[in-house]
């Protein structure tokens, strides 16, 4: 199965903006972070298909995962 990962702000630095990843089995977001060497502490917000999600959310084929570090504004 394939998922799309989008990284933003400081999480992008030294990594990538958008990448498609092949996963052998459906796994939680947490495992994806490990795969990408991103510490959980670095992730402030996680969206799956535009919905706020916890890191234990299991990913399905075609999911879009957007990850953000601590940011804010207004």
């Amino acid at each position: 199965m394939q998922v799309e990962v989008r990284l933003f702000a400081a999480l992008r630095e030294g990594r990538f903006g958008t990448q498609r990843l092949e996963l052998a089995v459906p796994c939680p977001v947490r495992d994806l972070l490990q795969l990408l060497s991103i510490c959980e502490g670095e992730v402030f917000l996680c969206l799956v298909n535009g919905q706020h999600s916890k890191l234990d959310r299991k990913l399905a084929d075609g999911d879009v995962v957007s990850l953000f570090p601590a940011v804010g504004g207004g």
Binding site: L45, L47, Q51, A70, G72, G74
Partner: protein, 598 residues
């Protein structure tokens, strides 16, 4: 007097009479300062039914008890008046350096009355106020006015607050600018200043705002600086990327209003994001007085440079107009700062006009400038200039989106509340924030209770943006706390890291009072109710606590909030109950007695 309010300066521009009064301590205690105290005076001194652009309206500049103190981000002043855009109370705040300078000059509140017989500016030098001829500056842009006045006054260290041509033309979306790039942007406060023939207020002060308890204040300042630094949002996110870092978060959530709120996903947001701004255009920072957060940007595109653009500005000219070129956004922002236009209202009005063209309501033959087509960078730059200069169709657009669309019989295409343009978050995917838009005391506005904090960012706790449960209570809490922060004279962004108890501590160490957090929040509620009473008396009926029909009836078609509309009719009754108001939205006698406000 340490950190405490004392001095009110009153200038009658019609007669030239200048007087100094002492602010009643009990009143200052009850309404804190800034937004609260300024609104108290406005409500007491003007007829709420007054024509906002007549000499009978007053313009009040109110600092807070913390403005100019050593507390972090204590940079704010409020411009308070009756709004020509909304007809409600207007209180627009700005950072920079002007507010603190006013306090250093020994003035806590400045009340401007009447109308000068010819263009005038005020010079305030350590408490001494003089009125001068500003004919040479009338018609001039903000940058030139600022530089010219600094030279004329021979006060290079002075701070200048002024209007641009938009305020002179009485555009109801005209802003007041200070320190060139900081705007008291919303609700047309610039037009009120223009209606008084007042071009500028130049201030120089050499005093200090001393704390009543200096040792405690210093210890608290250090603690708060550490807290702000350790917090991810205020210590890393905002300093590195500025507010525009929100672009991608809001867009990925499917609530980034695009093409006049026709969708919540802007397909090229990433090209016009805070990250892209930093990479390609950022040349420095534009930081307010003693601010450890330092969110302000300074950008350059070709030969145009200046402060900003902030998130809301960037959105208004980018996604809302379907434009993905940040270079032109920087140019449109610059015109807003130079002509003195509110960036949110200006961008959103162009977006509304673009939809009117898209729907064939505004005919291409009437468009005496670049075609008003979604996606046109040339259009946003030139139409901003034309609105600022009051040229051709631009003069009509400078009335704001509601009045402009109304001229063509389609006010429903104006994405506004109480005629003020909504900012950069689609309420269809944010039930609490949408309730806040509908009930804000100054019309469409995100900073009267920034529920994005809880519904998107998870501060102070994560709330499901699509749920309505508990949102009325949260909206009230956010609104009351914001009224406190605005009245203290602090930047709202402190609230990402600073807790209500810290606000209490700051207030107490600086003023020497000893209030509790509950008392401070009650003052916030008092201020909110006082503003509501002003609006009701001004003829703004509770049925205006609503949202544009599109947001209530037409579900979003894509993205994370697909299928959603805003559920205002379910939320509003609960909100009125939480507020202790009647089902019709009027504060009850009991509530007013409890808050001791009339």
């Amino acid at each position: 007097m340490s950190g405490y309010y004392g001095t009110l300066v009153r200038v009658n521009l019609t007669t030239g009479k200048i007087s100094t009064e002492t602010i009643d301590r009990a009143v200052a205690g009850k309404f804190i300062g800034g937004r609260g105290l300024g609104t108290y005076y406005l409500k007491k001194e003007i007829d709420p039914k007054v024509d906002p652009l007549s000499p009978d309206n007053k313009l009040i500049f109110a600092t807070g008890p913390l403005t100019g103190s050593t507390m972090p981000a204590a940079s704010r002043y409020m411009a308070i008046t009756k709004s020509p855009l909304t007809g409600t109370v207007a209180s627009s705040n700005a950072g920079g350096y002007w507010g603190p300078e006013l306090r250093f000059a020994g003035v806590d509140l400045l009340i401007l009355e009447g109308k000068a017989p010819k263009p005038a500016y005020l010079l305030i030098h350590d408490g001494k106020v003089t009125i001068h001829d500003a004919s040479a500056y009338w018609g001039k842009l903000v940058g030139e006015t600022t530089d010219g006045l600094l030279a004329e006054c021979r006060e290079p260290k002075a701070r200048v607050l002024c209007i641009g041509p938009a305020g002179e033309h009485l555009s109801p979306i005209a802003a007041i600018l200070n320190d060139k790039y900081r705007a008291a942007g919303r609700s047309g406060v610039g037009a009120v200043m223009g209606s008084k023939n007042l071009k500028a207020v130049v201030v120089r002060g050499t005093g200090k705002v001393a704390a009543a308890q200096p040792d405690k204040a210093e210890a608290l300042r250090k603690d708060l600086l550490a807290l702000i630094k350790a917090n991810g949002v205020t210590g890393q996110g905002l300093p590195t990327y500025g507010t525009a870092v929100l672009v991608n978060i809001i867009n990925e959530s499917g609530i980034y209003p695009t093409r006049n709120f026709q969708t919540g996903v802007f397909e090229t947001a990433n090209q016009a994001s805070g990250e892209a701004l930093k990479e390609k255009y950022l040349t420095g920072k534009d930081v307010c007085f003693r601010c450890p957060i330092a969110c302000g940007r300074y950008c350059k595109a070709d030969d145009v440079e200046g402060g900003g653009p902030e998130y809301e500005t960037l959105w208004a000219f980018s996604a809302d107009c379907g434009v993905s070129d940040l270079g032109v956004v920087i140019k449109a922002n610059k015109w807003c700062n130079e002509y003195g236009l509110d960036t949110i209202s200006a961008g959103a009005t162009i977006a509304c006009a673009m939809e009117m063209v898209q729907r064939g309501i505004l005919k291409p033959g009437e468009v005496d400038g670049p075609p008003l087509q979604f996606g046109s960078g040339a259009a946003i730059v030139e139409w901003t200039r034309k609105m600022g200069a009051g040229e051709g169709l631009g003069a009509k657009m400078a009335l704001g989106s509601y009045r402009f669309a109304e001229l063509y019989g389609v006010p429903e295409l104006s994405m506004s509340v109480k005629k003020q343009e909504l900012p950069a978050y689609d309420p269809r995917g944010l039930q609490g924030h949408g309730l806040q838009y509908a009930t804000s005391n100054r019309g469409g506005c995100h900073v009267r209770g920034y529920m994005i904090s809880a519904e998107v960012l998870g501060i102070p706790e994560k709330l499901d943006p699509h749920s309505i449960e508990g949102k009325a209570k949260w909206a009230k809490l956010f609104q009351d706390l914001t009224a406190v922060i605005d009245s203290l004279g602090l930047c709202l962004f402190t609230s990402f890291a600073v807790k209500p108890d810290h606000y209490r501590d700051m207030y107490n160490v600086v003023t020497g009072r000893s209030v509790t957090t509950d008392e401070l929040l009650a003052a916030g509620e008092r201020i909110w109710n006082m503003e509501r009473l002003f609006n009701l008396a001004a003829g703004i009926s509770p049925d205006q606590d609503t949202l544009p029909k599109r947001l209530l009836k037409e579900p979003l078609l894509e993205g994370g909030a697909k299928g959603k509309v805003h559920r205002l009719s379910e939320l509003l009754p609960e909100y009125y109950r939480e507020r202790g108001w009647t089902p019709a939205g009027v504060p009850t006698e009991e509530k007013l007695a409890q808050l001791a406000v009339k």
